[in-house]
Structures are given as structure tokens and as C-alpha cells.
């Protein structure tokens, strides 16, 4: 696979809903902290119950989310992101992710994500927008 440069990473980020509001300076800064992971077809990204240390952004390929019983839950395509929930609730992964085709993912560690949120509230707003659109009728109880 062709190596992703800082600029390539920045462009991927800019196209995701989380970072679309940020300036180029900030995007480059965040892109610098991203790792790259490449997964072969049918390779597992993480398993249900694994400890969560980073979130992922899909650059290339297709991935599938599976629940504890191995039932397919959701398909992921380029520019989708996943694995962020467990970084906030500090619980183990509650789904398994497998790469359906050869996939390239960008990874962002929990420590870096939290630092970015403290500096750039628009990232937190982006996450909230994604969560609220996923659960429009969430029960208002804590």
C-alpha cells in the first residue's frame, strides 16, 4: 500500500464529520498524531471485550461490525469512524470489527482524542451530532 502522507491524512480527516469544521493548521496537527493500520481481508481489527485504547477512521476498504454472538450489526465504508464509544465510557469493546476487504484505517489514541476535544470543542460537537442522529429517541434517564 502507498504510504499515507501527512497531507493525505489531513484530507481524510477534513472529509469526516468530526473534523470538517477545523482549520488546516489544526487538521495537520491532529493528522500528525494519527497512526495507520492495514488489515487483510477477514482480519480482525478488535474483538468483543478487548481493551479500548484508540478509535479508527476508515480510509479504504469495507469493514463489518459483529455483536457478541457473531451477528452482523453494521457495515463500515471509507470516511466512517468507529471505536470511539469505548474510549469515553472506559469499558471494553462491545462489538467485534472485521475487515471484509483489505482495509486501511487511521487510528487516534484516547489520550490524543481527549486532548483534541479540550482544544477543539467542535470535535465534541461533531461526536454529539453523530450520537444524537444515531439515537434520536434516546430515553432521557441517566
Amino acid at each position: 500500500m502507498k504510504k499515507l502522507s501527512l497531507i493525505d491524512k489531513a484530507f481524510v480527516l477534513k472529509r469526516t464529520p468530526l473534523f470538517s469544521e477545523l482549520d488546516l493548521d489544526l487538521i495537520l496537527t491532529i493528522a500528525d498524531k494519527l497512526g495507520i493500520s492495514v488489515f487483510e481481508e477477514n482480519e480482525t481489527v478488535f474483538l468483543f471485550g478487548d481493551e479500548a485504547t484508540k478509535m479508527y477512521f476508515v480510509v479504504k476498504g469495507q469493514l463489518q461490525l459483529f455483536d457478541e454472538e457473531g451477528q452482523a450489526m453494521q457495515e463500515l465504508k471509507p470516511l466512517d469512524f468507529f471505536g470511539d464509544e469505548a474510549l469515553f465510557n472506559e469499558r471494553p469493546r462491545y462489538y467485534t470489527v472485521k475487515s471484509m476487504t483489505e482495509s486501511t484505517l487511521l487510528t487516534l489514541s484516547r489520550t490524543n482524542l481527549l486532548t483534541i476535544i479540550s482544544e477543539c470543542p467542535s470535535v465534541a460537537v461533531g461526536l454529539l451530532q453523530v450520537y444524537s442522529s444515531a439515537h434520536p429517541l434516546r430515553a432521557r434517564t441517566l
Binding site: 502522507s5 472529509r15 488546516l24 493548521d25 495537520l28 484508540k54 489514541s109 489520550t111 490524543n112
Partner: protein, 923 residues
Amino acid sequence: MAKLLSRLFNLFPGEEKSASLLALLGFLWAVAVTSGLKFADALFLLHIGSASLPVAYSISAGCMILIAAGLIYAFHTFSTHRIFIFALSCGVIFYLFSFSCFYFRIGLNEDWLWYALRVFGSIFFSVIVTCFWTFVDQYFHLQDAKRLFSLFSSMIFLGVATTGSIMLLGLIEFQQLSLLIAATLTATIFLIIHIHKTLKPVHDDSNIELDSVSYEESIKSFLKGVLSSKFTLLLMCMNFLIYISLVTTEFNYFASFDRHFHTTVNVGDEADAKLTLFLGKALACVSITNLIFGLFFFSRLLRKFGIGMLLPITPIILLITYIGWNLDDALIFALMGYFVVEGTLYVIDDSNFNLLLNGVPARMKHKIRVSIESFFEPVGTLVSAGLLSLSWLNPKLLGLLLSILLLIVALLLRKSYVKAIYLNLTVNLIHFQRTVLDWFHTFSKKEKKGIESRLLAILRQKDSGSKNFALQALIQIEDRTILKKVIHEVELSDVHEKEEFIRLLEDSPMKGDILIVEAAQRWLMEYQNPSLQSELMWYLAKIGLTHPDKVIDELDNPQLKIQGSAILTLKSSHADLDPDEAWQYKTKAYQKIKELLESQDTDKMVMALKILASDASQHDLEIVLTYLQHPYAAVQLEAAKTISQISLKNPGKTLPRLMHALSRADLSETRLLILKSLKRIIDSAHIEPLILQSTHFRPIEKRMVEEVVVSQGLKNVPLLLTLVKERSFHEKARLLAGKALGKLAVYQLRANLAGILKHEIDRAFFYLYHYHTVDNSLLKDALKTGYYSVLDFIIQLLGTAGEIEDCELLSRSMRSQNLKIRSQVVETLEKSCEPQIFREIVPLIEESPPEFKISYYLKRGGKPLILKDLLCKMVESSSVADRIAAFTLLQTENHTGWQALLKKHMLGSEEIFQHFAYELLET
């Protein structure tokens, strides 16, 4: 009894199982592996002689280099426990083979068997040591390692001492021993499987790249990483020298022993030979010394004096040994050499090495371990073998030279350790202040070229979002040669791209470039698109290339930007005009500006402010200042932008208005611009209010406030010191004052640090103790918040005093989920702050169980408070959160007189507290 043992071995509750399993593992493999090696040593000396040792060293080294390459690949590909099991299985097979050789008397009268035993023994020992420590390392972080690794090392010494005792007793022949070794290794394999299933490793989340790049790339990045880390280079250098010294010293003492106990024995009688018995006795003595030192002294010395003090011990002993040995070939010096090789190198330097590895960039840690333990040993052995083969080189003189070199490198390594640990933490440092241009400067010429082509290629794509982003990047690079290519690409694109290009240039330093001016004038003639036309006219007006006569008819143009460009042209008109005419134009322009400002349309107001920003005068400042507190955030922002571009000639009048506007500004960007203006005119009298105001600011704004304060120079040092000490102020304000003080006068901060922190440490213990002892959730939350707030203050102030570049990183990392990151913060603080302060805060920051932490509160003389007293104390706190939680509970419990107390506290308190108080009183 269990408690006593835990204290003796520095174990925290809950660690007993993992510690005992790993200690047992260390003991088992050590007995098996060292039995094989030490008997092989004796057998080799008895049957072949020390003169052939360099040959054995060379064979071992050659084989080891190949095995090390395999190991590096294996650690990259397979899990540590699998590699460990595989290595031990090879040992089982080899010692079963050796048993067969003795049983069937194969090769006993030939040299190859003794070579095979010696070579396999030494290789097997190196591989198992690497596997064991890599395996153990995954279960502990640095601070655990400091407490527990000496226990595991001691168990290895116990294993070695057992080997020594077996040799000393002379009861078991090598034939039976081979079988025993194979059986022990098998038991070790089962133990590893059990440990792998039951213990949970401590995760590293910094090895992002490791799972992604190919092997070839990782070798390249590995070498690059090694060369860019001074500490890693020194560590590798130190270990390389250790291996050469080890082999040289071993050669020297074996030669000495050979001279003192020169005998030849028959096969089967080796166990009773004088040399075997002597080696057994020496090994047992050294191992017991190692055991006692490792168990009871090493971790305590390490915690008391730090790793830096332990680093030069071996080089110094070695230096003394060789100085004496070069003067006299007495057995005592050979024994001292033996003591270093079998003693201090294991008990001190091996343990140090495991800790020093934490200073190596995290992503390279395992590779560095394998390189050092597997590559350096054979290469060092080969180099030593080569050097020892040189007949003109005295081996003892070589030892002396090596010990001097070793001492120098150890001292250098000690010096660079703190920085290396901090640099590892900076993996998580995000450079938010970097601009596109800064980033561009970090690239090589080739990379710059690649980025440029990539961005230009994006300009040719259809995705408008990416195109705009690429355009933005290309303009911000501020390179004229690139600009030419960009204009060429924009020429080929549609009007929207041209419009975007011109808009992006508005604030660029390249906006006046002739290439752009020519393009803009050409497009103005060629394209009739109203949107592009207005953008072009605004651009040309801003750079002063429009004439009043040509735009006078556009003053009422419905297109706001065209209207704005006309007003701006009139306002800026002076050159080549009759003064009266220019004055008329200006008056007209200000009339129109007034109209725009007085309209209810924010777009018009923003346009008016933009016009004022260009070529602004003191008169303009007066107008703009009033809009700084406009209810609309966009108007505030534009006003702040305008002010930041005007020279502020009357600070006495402007300063209070800017300070007031700062407290009312809605947007972070507005606050940053106001701070930028304040930096130019602020005086000492406004430093304190500015710092106090900054408590609710965003991180980037706080950094700007700090910059403003520092820009005022040393005259504010006494004020800053007073602010840091003032306990009634919010910790965040005190911290900001402390950070500025650290930049201006770090020695003054250090001199006052112990006094400032004493009270804060007491407060942290107070919060922590009561957090663990109260059962009300609201109160628990308030106490937890208070604890973290005070801990942040302590850590960041210590970081500032220790001249840590980004001390916020320390407190952020302290909250990381990752134990290894937290332990590096502790290590950084230990190395950068005064020992007595560090001893005070250790119970707060180390990973000990809560009962340990809260017991320190009582030990420090803290008093456990009952709920009522606790609430009364929190009511008096400087923290709003404490007061709010305390009054809420006083009201819930209907505490007598809470209303009167609350009313008393409302006076002079923060706005947020007053709102809370009104609400509470109304309920």
C-alpha cells in the same frame, strides 16, 4: 505473616498472585538454564581448556546473530508467550539429546560435545533472559518495575544459587542433570501457559505504527528512531561495552582460575574436580549475595537514590579491579572480576537495563531489548574474541580501558535519562500552535515537492471541499513559485474556484503579489459573474488599486461587497488627489460607514468594521471599541479583528474597555484577538485582573494570557509570586501565574515551591481521604473534582519548576487510562523535582491501593471529619464546586442556619455562586 512478606517484598495488596507466579517462573528457568550453562563451563574448562574459549565465544556469537534476527522478526510477528514457550521447548529437546549422548556415550571422547554444550548453554541463556523480561514487562509499568523487578531478579539469583549448590555438593552427574533440566523446562512451559491465561497485561497505546507498517519499513524506521534518540544510542553503547567487558573479564578470571587450579580429569569425574567445586562455591556465594541484595536492598536504594546513582557502580568496581589486576595477578582480583560478571552485572546492571528501557521510544522498546540482548551479546562476544586473540594486546589492559569507557558512558546515560523519559511522554504532545507554514518547514525538500504536486493534483479534482482545502494549504505555504502554479490551475477552473482563491488571499501576506493582481484585473474584465466581480473589487480595494472616481457610483450597490469596496476606496483615498477632494471622499465614506453600522443587519455592521480595519485611524478605534460589546458574536469578532490591526495610542482609555470586553466576549477567537491587542498596551495594574479572569478560558486562550504576562518582563515577578501563593484564588489562576513566573524567574519559583505546595498536598490528601470515606454521591463528586484540581495544580507547578516544556501534558497524562503513561509521569516528576517534595507527593501519584493513600492523610496529622464538620470546612473553600456541593447538602439536611450562612457567603463571591445561592434560597 502475609502482610509482613508483602511489606518485605514491596508488594501492594492484590499483587501477591502475579508476583509469586512470575517469581516462580524466574526461579524455575534460572535453575534449569544456568545448570546447563555453568556445568557446560566447567566441562569445557576441564576437557578443552580456557585457551579455546575465544573459539567457543566466536561460535556462540555467530549463531546468536542469526538467532537474534529471527527473534526480532518473531517479536514483530508472534506473541511473547509463544516465543518463550518455543525457546524453552528447544531447550527440552537439546537437554534430552545431551542426556542421550551421555547415556549412550556418544561423543564423550570428542571435542564437539563440550563445544555444543557450551555454545548452546550460552545462547539458550541469552534467549531465555530476553524472553523472560519481555514476557514480564508486559504485566508491569515503570513504577511497578521499580518495586518488583528486583524480586524477580532475586528469584533468578536463587535459581543460580541453587545451581551453585548442586555443583558444590557434587552429587548429580551431568547425565542425570540433563534429564532434570529437561523436566524443569517442561514445568516452566506449563507455568507460562497458566500465567498467560490468568494475568492481565498492561497495555501500551503508543505503538500505533507497529501494527501497520511492513517489516522492511520498520527496520528503516527502527534505525532512524535509534539514530534520532541520543538516549537509545547511549543505552546501546553502554550495553555493548558491558558485553565486551563481560567477556573480557570472564576470559581473564577463567585464565586466572585455570592457572590456580590447573588439572585434567576423566569423563564422569568432573563433578568432584577441584575447579568444579571452586566454581560451585563461588557461584553459590555470589548468587546468595545477589539474592539478598536484590530482595532487600536494590529496590530500596533505587527508590531512595534513583537509577542515576546505581548506574556507575559496576564501572567503578570494574575500574578498581582492573587497576589492581594490572598490578598484581592475585586470586582476589579474579574473584572481584567474577563478582562483577556474576554479581553486579546481573543484580544492578540487568535490573537497571530493564528500567532504562522505559526511556527508549515506546514503539521501539522490544526491538531495542532484543537488539541489545541478542545482537549485542554475540557481536560483543565476537569483538571480544577478536581482541582477546590479538597476542600483542594484554587482556587486563583491555579490561582497564573498557572499564574507563564504561564509566564515561554510564555518566552520560545518567544525564540524559530524565529528558528521555519526558520525551517518551511527548508522544502525546499535540502541537496546536503550529501553522501550515511551520508544518511545511518540517518536511524535506523531496517531501515538500511531493506535497506540492499532491495538492496541485487535488485542485484538478471535482470534489469542491477537497479543492478548497488544497487551495487553502497552497496559499498558506506562502511560496511564490507555488503561487504561479496555483494561479495556473485556478485559471483553468470555474468562477467559484476563482472567487474562493481571491477570498482566501484576503488575509495572506502574498495578497499584493503582482501575479495575483494581474490575474484579478484580468478576471474582472473577463468574467461578469456578480459574486466574482464583488470579490475581485473588494480585493482590489483592499490593496488600494481602485480609484474613487471609478467606484463612486457603487456606493449604493445592492451587492454589499461592491458597496463596501467603494466605501473603502473613498476612505483610503489620499494619494494623487486634491486634499479637498480627498476630504470629501473620506466624509462620504464615513457617512456610509455610519449608515452601515447603524443598520440592524449584522452583515452590514461586519462590513463596516472590515472597512474600518483597513487603514484604520485613532478615530476609527473609538468607533470600533463600542462594537466590541455588541450583542452579536460576529460583530464582536470583527470589532476585535479591527482593533488588533489598529495602533493603540491611548492605553489609559483603551485598556479598561478591552479588559471589560474580554470578560464579555462570546467567542474564543474574539478573546484571542482582544488578548493580542492587550499584549501591546497592558500594564502591571491589569495583570492580576487578567489572570483572575482567565480561569474559565480555553487552553489556547490561557496560553495567550501567559504570553501577555510574560511579555511584561521581570517587573511583575513579585506580583506573580504573590498570586501563586494566594490560596483564596482559584487554582487555575494561581497556576497560570506560576507558569508565567516559571518562564520569567524559575529559580524564584523553585525557592518558594516547597512552601506553596505543602498546603496543597495537605488539601489533596484531605479530598482524597474524605472521598474514600463519605458515602454521599454529590459530595463524593465534589471531593473528587477538588482532588483532581489540586493534583493538577501540584503536578503542573512541579513541571513548571522542573522546566518541563509542556507541563499540562503531565497532568493530562496522569489521567491517562494507560498505567505505563502514568508511571512515566511519576518518573519525570521524580527526576525533575526536589527529592523532599517528591517524597511528599509519592503517595498521591503512585499506583497504590486507596487504603494506602488514605492512611497517609492520618499519618500527616490530618483529622477525619464527620459530615457536618466536613460541610462546614467545604463552605469555606476557595473552590466554587466545594461551596455549591456543601450548601446543597446543608439545605438537603436542613442544617440550622444554612440560609444565613449562604447569604453571608454570597457577598463578594463569583457570579455563578450568586446564581446558585439565589436558586437555593428560593427553593
